[in-house]
Symmetry: D3
Subunit: 245 residues, 6 copies
Amino acid sequence: MKPTPTFPPDRTPLLAFGAHPDDIEFGCGGVVAGETQGGRAAHFVICSRGEAATHGTPAQRTAEAKRAAKLLGATVEFVDLGGDAHIEASIARTLKLAAIIRRVRPGFVLAPSVVENQHPDHIALGRMVRDAARLARYGGVKELKRLPLHAIGQLLFYAVTSEAEPAPLAKVLIDVSAPEVLAAWTAAMAAHASQTQARRYIELQLTRARLHGLRCGVGHAIALFPNDPLHFDSLEQLGGAARRF
Amino acid sequence: MKPTPTFPPDRTPLLAFGAHPDDIEFGCGGVVAGETQGGRAAHFVICSRGEAATHGTPAQRTAEAKRAAKLLGATVEFVDLGGDAHIEASIARTLKLAAIIRRVRPGFVLAPSVVENQHPDHIALGRMVRDAARLARYGGVKELKRLPLHAIGQLLFYAVTSEAEPAPLAKVLIDVSAPEVLAAWTAAMAAHASQTQARRYIELQLTRARLHGLRCGVGHAIALFPNDPLHFDSLEQLGGAARRF
Amino acid sequence: MKPTPTFPPDRTPLLAFGAHPDDIEFGCGGVVAGETQGGRAAHFVICSRGEAATHGTPAQRTAEAKRAAKLLGATVEFVDLGGDAHIEASIARTLKLAAIIRRVRPGFVLAPSVVENQHPDHIALGRMVRDAARLARYGGVKELKRLPLHAIGQLLFYAVTSEAEPAPLAKVLIDVSAPEVLAAWTAAMAAHASQTQARRYIELQLTRARLHGLRCGVGHAIALFPNDPLHFDSLEQLGGAARRF
Amino acid sequence: MKPTPTFPPDRTPLLAFGAHPDDIEFGCGGVVAGETQGGRAAHFVICSRGEAATHGTPAQRTAEAKRAAKLLGATVEFVDLGGDAHIEASIARTLKLAAIIRRVRPGFVLAPSVVENQHPDHIALGRMVRDAARLARYGGVKELKRLPLHAIGQLLFYAVTSEAEPAPLAKVLIDVSAPEVLAAWTAAMAAHASQTQARRYIELQLTRARLHGLRCGVGHAIALFPNDPLHFDSLEQLGGAARRF
Amino acid sequence: MKPTPTFPPDRTPLLAFGAHPDDIEFGCGGVVAGETQGGRAAHFVICSRGEAATHGTPAQRTAEAKRAAKLLGATVEFVDLGGDAHIEASIARTLKLAAIIRRVRPGFVLAPSVVENQHPDHIALGRMVRDAARLARYGGVKELKRLPLHAIGQLLFYAVTSEAEPAPLAKVLIDVSAPEVLAAWTAAMAAHASQTQARRYIELQLTRARLHGLRCGVGHAIALFPNDPLHFDSLEQLGGAARRF
Amino acid sequence: MKPTPTFPPDRTPLLAFGAHPDDIEFGCGGVVAGETQGGRAAHFVICSRGEAATHGTPAQRTAEAKRAAKLLGATVEFVDLGGDAHIEASIARTLKLAAIIRRVRPGFVLAPSVVENQHPDHIALGRMVRDAARLARYGGVKELKRLPLHAIGQLLFYAVTSEAEPAPLAKVLIDVSAPEVLAAWTAAMAAHASQTQARRYIELQLTRARLHGLRCGVGHAIALFPNDPLHFDSLEQLGGAARRF
């Protein structure tokens, strides 16, 4: 048990982690578009080049990811955690991610959910980001000592598919209906042309977002899953309730 | 399935329902104090006079409840749902509560949680308020036709004891640490002198609030349980994450 | 604890219960269309005339329901359980439903799910159908003695909205992609013109069905929730697994 | 919220409630046999005469229940809650049960579990006993004033079938392997000859108890489900852990 | 996210994985017997020689496993994942299992459940099989490139003990009552003579299967736990509902 | 599946595992104090020197741990599992812990809970202790052959924070109100002066214990989470029910 410096989560950058070149775009691209269009900096950390995929070469996938990030107004870096279909959780890799957190100093961190029954790379990465966010706060970790402590504001999980939505966690819905947000999100997904040729990924994500939007009376919305209960100073800040039927 | 007029939840009054004269104060008095001190109107609906209790006469309990509401800056009314220990859920009683919702036109509604293993009056009332909030939106209910439709902003459950906290629901923590908020809350609980002589209710509630406060790095906090997922326009509005250990 | 005559569930009729004139169509109309087009008889029991709704008169709603049932190839009857927004579970009403079950002698029974946080009529009806299916098997219930015992094959819950899907129950997905099935379902929903003018109900249901369809690699699918575990003679009968991503 | 007199749960009588004449025997007869053979008084409250059953007349069922209670060393009374298949939870009936609790003054109370998907009489009775145990503690309930307050030691739910076992509750296993306990239990079940002719109830219960017994390394054991967490003064009192495989 | 070739699950072989030489037999031997007697090929992959057990030498255990597989009509191979009590999940081992899946090209895959509180070898193997079934579908995994892609029909978990049954998953019950099926299963369990001398494993499994059988009105049944929701073309295919009490 | 020698859990030592030098004291120090003051031997195994913490040197932390153990009447040893913030579950490390269990031969074992969302060292250790307790029973594990088999009486998880309490498990509450027990516990926590200067750990733990105490009508109580259902010979042994409100 170790202390934590408090940190105001207001205009700090957003940091999103993806196991494969298209995961961030498919899982929460609309949320990123909304944030960057509202003036927040965003940075993507992509942990493989998609080299185990049936379609697309690593070079193609890298180019697609760079173009998609640009469409979403985000910077991007690649980090090697063993390669596509080879990401295993380990302390060494977790500390690599913790160092990135200390370098970027984000307020919000987005990571794939830790639901077990999905691509094993997703859950391994989600767990490592969760633990990395914790270790980034501790003063005595020798591998991290060259960088100042950092406590993130909030860790939010995204789900690449409906099956990966973590049932027992509190869900929050983020409105992504603004036409320019929706357009940027769709363009970023389409940038992954090697993937979308083979499966209806874009339709899957827009169908999910439309269903969430119908629930809360807006056009489209994306569900995120906070790792910890939210706290507020007053009821005013609670936002709206997502029920229209 | 019937349509719902949208309603801006901003400076509308808060409406809290209690099964017994002291339930609102013990379950979420601090939240009410924070809201009224911040300028929101609050109204209490108390559904029995505590006539089944071991201690205190109905007259005493009524006087205590009035004094406690005043200390919290709330108006108060009493409604008869069969009497203390005799509250059974029924459509007729639910519509009585729906009529109050249409009259008061609240943004936020507070009601006891619907966890089964607690005082049967609490769960019967919690269920009726939940259903009343829905029926208040429908145009064709004949018993309600004299009053205009009303869609509440959000239904939040409170828990009178730890055992009544609804485990699978998303919890939000509301900071009640401001000295004047804490003082008003404590005074309102102490106003129920007939009850606090026999059991350590005040200590129970302050201990719960301190534990929640320690979790999110503030003095004291109260947990509420939204009936539906929250939705937001941007991450900025999410508030803080309640983890400090 | 009382014995149960066994009953082959093969070509027996399907019996669906709805609290309001449009619930069956919105919740599981596609499944009914598939069954009747495959040769099974279907019968609807509608338990109110929608008289509490904001839009549509009871006469209009009744006409819409009759037309929708016809489009789905089903016969229909109306039963009075207290009226729209006034359905309360009681033994007397449960036995009324049990008598219908004994008269119709269905293999499959469809009823609204018993998730608490939805229209109170839905949950009251869902619980009564579940209990009625049990009481229909018992020989000594005096109100039912004029009709022969009947044990249904299977009780399946449907959900009128996503929020009403019962998370902890096993979900099965029924393919409703055949063009003539989808067309009949859509037409039956559109027959409820008084309701669909005010809210996007048809889009909500087709979006839900498309999302389920994408999950199992078909056009559209509807989720049903068996009340009891399924049993089979061999693995062959298990059908497919609903995962394509 | 009302105070509770403390009550030593040591040699106080056991009070068991059953909805039908054979429920206590099938659900927890072995536990009762063990307690009465160890010197504790036991009393049964049977809430119908089984008049809705396919087999056996009310007179037969009453005689069977009396004989079975005798075999288990328990006294028995019958109480009318509306009749078999007609038990609905109500405050008036709950207070009738609370008055019995005040009269008998039990340490342990046994009641059917409140799992929804079982005979509706079971769940209605289980809920009423749970609430009755609470109301029996309150000083101001006018229908109960003629009898002194009583706080039970512990409420334990039993399950008449595997399906009625309440999954999320803490289970405790009670060893019923002593030959004379097992013999008394089996004889008490066999006393319900009108029921056991039609279904394999005795085999069902002995199979369940054998499976629980294999788990904790004894001959047979019965699972009970405490309504509240257990508390102890030291680890010594925790008993054994029920895992042998 | 990568595409999946569709695969008809009809007369493809069944592939079962076991961590120890007797796990398949004890956990789902009856299901295998039913399938092979119905004409389906079955293949066992056993991932240790039981060398950490208290009873039986590796040579004995291997001989027992071969004889048991023969009694169930299955072929068998052994694969080394580190040895008994030494199976740790890793990508390298997962890919070894994925290669077997590509070689055998099964419709149904059976693996130990991933419930945490059981022998650590079981959960490690269950997780690796689940992930291997996914990786077997991806075109770019270099360790697998020599073998053609394969998408299994369905992954079903079995439980070696009651404690390993995964509560939140949908359970299906497979009837194994046919005398020749039951005889083959019992003989296969008895073939593990080194194990059954010390603990009542056979009785445990037959007691579990009898209890499941009583629930669905057949002699004996085995519970399996599908990894994904089932999907069907019509209600007819749903099988029966497993409730007889 | 391997056999287990039975073991009487009565006056055998208590063995507690902690990932960091202060975890046992903060998580369950009061329970240990109660046991040692009642005559049971206790032994602590501490698996790091707290070298990743922001405050306190490894030497300081070691000295604090030794002093705290002494205050609780326990002996202590340190074992290296990779270091603070570097504990990863592995078979090799699990067997190291299993060897300690065989050497100490405890009745009760205490370990950190395996809830995912907490310090990664805690969950890694909790899982390894759970698996070690199982492997300690098996006769053929070559790394353990030099030590006689040992089956523990019971594994109980403790939670260092409220967030680490494992919701779905049965909770038992242990009374730690005796003044000398409370004093020893508080002193042992205060011995970790390097940690308590920075965060309100002692207040957190006493607040949690006071809340549990209020629930069961005693001064302070600590919640523990048994890994398996408890079993008893009679109801008498069940202890009290933890509800006073």
